[in-house]
Subunit: 133 residues, 2 copies
Amino acid sequence: MKSKKIDWDKAKQLCEGLTEEQDALTRELVSRIADKWSLWTMAVLAEAGAALRFSRVMEHVEGISQKSLTKTLRGLERDGLVTRKVFAEVPPRVEYEITDFGMELLDQVAPLWAWVAQSVNMFQHARTKFDRG
Amino acid sequence: MKSKKIDWDKAKQLCEGLTEEQDALTRELVSRIADKWSLWTMAVLAEAGAALRFSRVMEHVEGISQKSLTKTLRGLERDGLVTRKVFAEVPPRVEYEITDFGMELLDQVAPLWAWVAQSVNMFQHARTKFDRG
DNA sequence: CAGTATCCAGATCGATACTG
DNA sequence: CAGTATCGATCTGGATACTG
């Protein structure tokens, strides 16, 4: 248990300064990070580096349904992580783009994701051992 | 879009080197982090700094049901994040303790959590604006 | 094209009751 | 004490069909 406690204590301290509503929102936002599609969708928009139409996004996020993509994008828009721009044309055109804030979130998530990916062998080993015993 | 891309690219690169099974496991582990009870349970054990009985854990993780706590602890044990020790006594005693690996995970999550907690006002503002417009 | 509306199957979780 | 078993409410997400 000789792990550096600094970061964790800082997080704990920050959480204690939050109202109940803010605490609930924090949990909700962390949940979004683990959401099946949200991170992937943001990554697609980040890699594009430009605004993408609904159908382009759907092509890149393999396996997502129209319904889920709509819901995902609305959620991201609501939190200011992507922008949604509707063009008054026929046929309709809607473009999505990641915000600076969204990019910032990706940057925050990256180290954790990288650690998990690096640790995946250890988890695999732990599970094999557990499932045998 | 002048965000540093280093971390994200590193994460992306790592993910591409994973097998399909490992990729699925990575997603599963990230999901655990956002799980309603897992992080909280680990935090309780981390703060205790010692082994805790099932009922003690349940007292500290407010609002959790017996069923959910059992499931949560089993999952954490399976991934090597906590240990479970059964004592052959009457009445039965079972003690749970966080592992070094579990502490490491908490440390990895802490910066992200802190960032979200710090950004919570920005999210709140974004939502209010969105919900009005 | 970019959705919305509807239906439906599976997972999840709390409450409750029971057991070694 | 530390679970397991079961039931029911809720939520999620895909498939499909329809629309401005």
